[in-house]
C-alpha cells in the first residue's frame, strides 16, 4: 500500500468514525428516533472489504451497517437524512438506521433480523451465475448470525453450486451481551465451516491492512477456484449493543486496559500505518478536517430537512 492509497482509505475510515461519533453527540437530543447499532471498533472491516471487492459487487448487511453504508456509497447526505427520518433520507425515512441501503450503489439491502440477508445475497450470487457470470456477491453479518440455520443452508448451497458468495463474519464475540462461548458448540468458525467446499480465511478486523490483504487473498482464491469464501474478521465492539454509550459498567464484560483499547481501535491503528508510510501530521489533519466539515454540514442539513409528506405512508407497498 502506498501513501496515496492509504490516505484515501483513511478518508473513508475516518468518515465512518466521524459520522458515528457525531451520532453519539447528537443522539440524546432525541431527534434521531431510530435505534442505532454503532460499529465503533469495526470500521476497518467494511472499509477494507469494500475496497477489495470489485466496485460493482452487490453487497448485503445487517442493522449494524453504518460503516458498510458509508464505505460502499459515500452518501453522507442520505445517511443522516435517513437517521433523522427526513424526506431527504435515502429511504425517505422509512428505513431508519437498521435498514439503510442504496441499491443503485450496490448496497442492496440490510436487515434487522439476524442472518436474513445471507440467503438473499446467495440469491444474488445465483442470479449472476444464471447470467453466466458468477460474480462476487458479499454478505456482511455478525458472529451471532452463524448460529442461525439459514447460514448453514446458504453455505451448503453456495458450496454445492460453486457460487462466488463472500461471507464476511464480523466477529465481536458478542451477541448483544452474550459471549460466543455461551452460544457456539464448535472449536471455532473456521474449522466449523471447513467441512464445506469453501475457501476460509481469518484476520484481525481491527487492522485495516490485514483486512485488505485477507479480503484480496480470499477473492483471488475464489476467482481461481469458484467457491464461496468465508472471511472471519475479529474486532472489538467499543460501545453498547444498541445506543450511543459505553457499557463497561455491566458485568458481562470488563473494560480493557487503555493500551488494549488502542490496539483494537482501527482508526488509531491505521494512523500508525499512515505514519509509517510517511504521511505527515498535517496531511492526516487535512483529511480529518474535510471530513469533519462535511459531516457537520450534512447533519445540519438533515436537521433542517422536511419530514416526508403524510401521503408517503401509503406509497411503496406495491409497485
Amino acid at each position: 500500500m502506498d501513501k496515496a492509497e492509504a490516505l484515501g482509505l483513511y478518508q473513508k475510515l475516518y468518515l465512518v468514525r466521524r459520522c458515528e461519533e457525531k451520532i453519539r453527540e447528537e443522539y440524546f437530543k432525541d431527534e434521531m428516533k431510530t435505534p442505532v447499532h454503532l460499529g465503533i471498533g469495526g470500521e476497518a472491516i467494511s472499509v477494507g472489504v469494500v475496497q477489495a471487492l470489485p466496485p460493482a459487487a452487490l453487497t448485503f448487511g445487517t442493522y449494524r451497517n453504518h460503516a458498510l453504508y458509508l464505505a460502499k456509497t459515500d452518501d453522507v447526505e442520505g445517511f443522516f437524512g435517513e437517521l433523522y427520518g427526513r424526506a431527504s433520507g435515502r429511504c425517505k425515512g422509512k428505513a431508519g438506521s437498521m435498514h439503510l441501503c442504496y441499491p443503485e450503489r450496490g448496497l442492496v439491502a440490510t436487515s434487522a433480523v439476524v442472518g436474513t440477508t445471507i440467503p438473499v445475497a446467495l440469491g444474488a450470487a445465483m442470479a449472476s451465475r444464471y447470467r453466466g457470470r458468477n460474480e462476487v456477491v458479499a454478505a456482511f453479518f455478525g458472529d451471532g448470525a452463524t448460529e442461525e440455520g439459514t447460514f448453514w443452508e446458504s453455505l451448503n448451497y453456495a458450496s454445492l453450486r460453486g457460487l462466488r458468495l463472500l461471507l464476511i463474519c464480523e466477529d465481536n464475540e458478542l451477541a448483544i451481551h452474550t459471549h460466543v462461548n455461551d452460544r457456539q458448540g464448535h472449536e471455532g468458525l473456521l474449522s466449523a465451516v471447513s467441512g464445506f467446499r469453501c475457501h476460509a480465511e481469518r484476520a484481525d478486523g481491527s487492522d485495516l491492512p490485514a483486512v485488505l490483504e485477507a479480503a484480496r487473498g480470499i477473492l483471488r482464491k475464489m476467482e481461481k477456484d469458484p467457491r464461496p469464501g468465508f472471511l472471519h474478521l475479529s474486532y472489538y465492539r467499543f460501545l453498547e449493543h444498541v445506543g450511543p454509550l459505553e457499557d463497561f459498567k455491566f458485568a458481562y464484560r470488563k473494560k480493557p486496559e487503555e493500551k488494549e483499547l488502542q490496539r483494537r481501535d482501527p482508526v488509531h491503528r491505521f494512523e500508525q500505518t499512515l505514519a509509517a508510510l510517511g504521511a505527515r501530521a498535517e496531511e492526516i489533519a487535512n483529511v480529518r478536517s474535510k471530513v469533519d466539515e462535511r459531516v457537520l454540514k450534512e447533519v445540519a442539513a438533515a436537521q433542517k430537512a422536511p419530514f416526508p409528506e403524510p401521503s408517503e405512508l401509503m406509497t411503496d407497498v406495491f409497485v
Binding site: 452487490l58 446467495l122 440469491g123 450470487a125 443452508e153
Partner: protein, 347 residues
Amino acid sequence: MKRNIQFREALSSALADEMTADPSVFVFGLDVPDHKRIFGSTAGLLEKFGPERVFDTPLSEDAMTGAALGAALAGLRPVHVHIRVDFALLGMNQIINMISNLRYMTGGQIGKLPIVIRAVIGRGWGQSAQHSKSLQGMFAHFPGLKVVMPSSPQDAYSLLRASIRDDNPVIFLEHRWLYDVVGEVDDAHAVPLGLANVRRHGKDITLVCTSWMNVEAHKAADLLARRGVEAEIVDVRSIAPLDAATILKSVRRTGRCIVADYDWSFCGFAAELAAQIHHGCFKELKAPVERVGFAHTPCPTTRPLENLFYPSAKTLVRAAERLLGLDEMDLSQEKFYTYEVNFKGPF
C-alpha cells in the same frame, strides 16, 4: 389458441409461455425437475429450458426463499415452488420480515420485487395435519404480498402468467384436486390480478368461494336449483388485493350470503369477507352472512373424520337452506364428489 386441458397443464403452459417470453423467469424448488414434476405442473420445462432455469434445491426452504428474494433483487423473476404450502412455513421469516416489507423499507428504491411462490394445498390421500394447510388468509394479512387462488384451468393459466408478470411478490395457491379438472384455456385471454369472477348467476343467495369451494358450490347450486333457488357464485380468485366491489354488488342484490373459504374460518379470510360484506351490505342483508370452512381442529388422517373436517356441497346446501328458511331437501340419493373416483393413493 384454445385448448381443452387439465389444470396441471394450464400451469405448466403458463410457466412455459412466460419462460419463453422472458429469459429472466426461472422455476425452482424441491422436486421441480424430477419425473413427477410437481403433479405434472412443471412438466416439459426441464426439456425445454434446461437445468439452469428449472432446478431442484436442497431441503433448505428458509435459504431458498431468501435466495428467491435475492435473485429478484438482482433482476430475475423467480418462481419458487412448494409441493405443499405447509413447507412455506419454514420460509416465513423471509416471506414476512423480508419479502413483504423490503420495497417499503427501502423507500421504494427497489423498483420491482417479482417473486412468485407457488404452493399446493388441498386434500390428497390422508394428508394429515402437516400437509393440508391453505394459509391464504395468513399471507393476505401482511401488506406487500399478493395472494391468488385459481379455480379453473383458464384462471390457472392466466393468473399464473399475470403473477409472473407482476412486479410484486405473489403467493399462488393451487388445490391438488383441481389439477384434474379439464377446461377450455384460451392463451390469448388475460386475467389481471385483483378481480373476482361471477362464475354463476343467481338472484336468491350469493356463495362467495375460494379455490376448491367453487367446485362444491357449483354442485350445491345445481341441487338448490332443483327446488327453485338460484344461487350466484362469486369466485374470489384474488385474495389480496381483494375485489370487494364485485362481491358486494352481488350480495346487495341477493341479500343473502354464504362465504365458503377453503381454510379455517377463525381469523381467516372468511372472517375478512364476512366483515366486509356485513359492513358494505348492512342495509341489504336479510340475514347474517354464514361462514363455511374447515372444522376448527387440525386435519385428521382417517377418511371418516377427514370427510367431516372438510366442507362440501352438502354443507353448502344445508347452510343455504337455513339461510333461506327452507326444509332440508333429501340428499340421500345424491352422488357427491369423492376423491376415490378420480384418484388412488399414495399422495
